[in-house]
Amino acid sequence: MKRIKTLTNKTLKNTMAKGGCGECQTSCQSACKTSCTVGNQSCENNK
């Protein structure tokens, strides 16, 4: 592509099949405690 640079082509839809194992960190246990910051976490299965 000449005009578009795609930074990520992993689609959320693909995580519907295998997702939801729940082993990942609870967001408030990281650093926030007063907001909700799920999007910046990593999937435990990819570690």
Binding site: N9, T11, T26, N40
Partner: protein, 454 residues
């Protein structure tokens, strides 16, 4: 759904439902804005004064190609998934232990009422702590990784019990095939070599409270007799961060109306050598003089922009740091299930008071309507638990069509309750800040990706 914006010279297009992120040229940027309302002919007509027809056609083709691949204009296919999700059996996987409802600082913005949560001073006994560990093991089903945060007040005012609970948890890991991840949130006043050694052996993460510059910190984080705290804890924080090899910790501050120029506080912490930094705008009702007000938003947005540019510069120079709210994992981020279920408060995540009562999270402690159970009887208010279970982005009017919904997952239930008396609403100032942070975080990725290409 598309969210497109310009920041720091980048044209960024976020395809909300697929999660795909694109950096595009001006032609594509303008064509995308018209794509859903206009035919190609209509777009050419509208943009003919700005671009050549062949460029518009080329941009259009590239857009169509990505649409075909599901990376642009993807449909929201998750609403039905949420219905299934609700029926699932849930388990408890994280506890916030209120080790001490007491504190040795008198921070002016403390949501916990100077550590006492509008109740009496109280310390958790080892007996209650052990019961909490048993409760977590019994209610965690097949989940292996279990999280326990030592919180307060100031948990180091009850350090012996912290040690006892950790030892007890470790003694059960093998038997029950569990892996405890203990974390500690502390103001540092009681940090010493013994605590540091213990924390470095046992704590997977440590959150160290500091607001940034000395004068900013000391204004809001005084000792009970009104003196500054910065000089007492700062040398210890620096030492601990280095002992942890500058990883698996956060220095975590609060920014208020008094330090809207908080980028200076973040950079102050970075200049001291800290590599893991979080500074969050205070969440408090507008009658407080230190509260963030709506009119503060443009200033805070600009501060996030300043910080984002400086972060890129320092990363390029090899002197970067992590700013918690700019961290975003575009490649291996959370699955949709996680993004929809949010923080898990009241369901997967519970807070335990010093006397063993359970609340949906630390911020609800002291709100008697939100007492959800206790360690002896488990969850007694199942209606409340179910209310939290159903609390997701599609249950919230404000979130349904927001571009940020898969990043904040509907936001903080406690903040929503604080401002609107319901967990199904959203704290509006928090939403605006969150959206700005996501935009900055993605822009940083674009800038750093460009560097990799060079």
């Amino acid at each position: 759904m598309i969210h497109q914006y310009k920041n720091n010279g980048y044209n960024i297009v976020l395809d909300v439902c697929s999660g795909a992120v694109h950096v595009v040229d001006d032609v594509v940027y303008d064509v995308i804005a018209l794509y859903e309302q206009e035919s190609l002919t209509g777009i050419i007509e509208k943009l003919s004064s700005s671009y050549k027809e062949e460029d518009i056609k080329e941009a259009y083709e590239e857009i169509e190609e990505l649409k075909e691949e599901g990376l642009l204009f993807a449909e929201d296919e998750y609403k039905e998934y949420v219905i299934d999700f609700k029926k699932r059996q849930t388990v408890v996987k994280a506890l916030c232990l209120h080790i001490a409802h007491d504190c040795n600082l008198a921070c002016k913005y403390c949501f916990a009422g100077k550590g006492e949560y509008n109740g009496d001073k109280s310390l958790m006994s080892l007996e209650v702590g052990k019961k909490a560990i048993d409760f977590l093991i019994q209610n965690s089903g097949n989940r292996r990784n279990l999280e326990v945060d030592f919180f307060g007040g100031e948990p180091l005012m009850n350090f012996e019990v912290v040690k006892g609970i950790v030892a007890y948890g470790r003694s059960l890991e093998e038997k029950y095939n569990k892996n405890f991840r203990f974390t500690l949130t502390t103001n540092g006043m009681l940090l010493n070599d013994e605590v540091m050694e213990f924390a470095n052996k046992e704590m997977s993460n440590v959150v160290l409270s500091v607001d940034g510059r000395k004068e900013v910190n000391d204004r809001m984080r005084p000792t009970p007799n009104g003196k500054g705290s910065y000089d007492i804890f700062m040398p210890k924080f620096i030492k601990l961060a280095n002992l942890r090899n500058q990883t698996n910790y956060y220095v975590r501050g609060t920014c208020t109306h008094y330090n809207l120029d908080f980028s200076k506080d973040v950079l102050h912490l970075a200049d001291l050598g800290f590599k893991q930094i979080s500074v969050e705008p205070v969440v408090s009702l507008s009658e407080e003089p230190y509260a963030i007000k709506e009119e503060d938003l443009p200033i805070l947005f600009e501060e996030y922009d300043i910080l984002a540019k400086e972060l890129i510069k320092r990363k390029k120079e090899g002197n970067g740091f992590n700013f918690f709210h700019f961290m975003i994992d575009l490649e291996q981020g959370p699955c949709v299930a996680k993004r929809l279920s949010g923080c898990g408060s009241g369901v997967e995540y519970l807070s335990v008071t010093p006397w063993g009562d359970l609340y949906p999270c630390h911020q609800f402690v002291g709100e008697e309507d939100y007492l959800i159970g206790n360690l002896d009887d488990g969850i007694t208010n199942t209606a409340l638990r179910d209310e939290f279970k159903l609390c997701n982005v599609y249950a919230k009017e404000k979130c349904k069509n927001c571009f940020a919904r898969f990043y904040c997952s509907g936001g903080c239930a406690a903040n929503s309750y604080k401002f609107h008396g319901s967990i199904l609403d959203a704290y509006d100032i928090g939403c605006e800040l969150q959206k700005k942070r996501i935009e900055c975080a993605i822009m940083i990725k674009a800038a750093l990706a460009e560097q990799e290409d060079e």
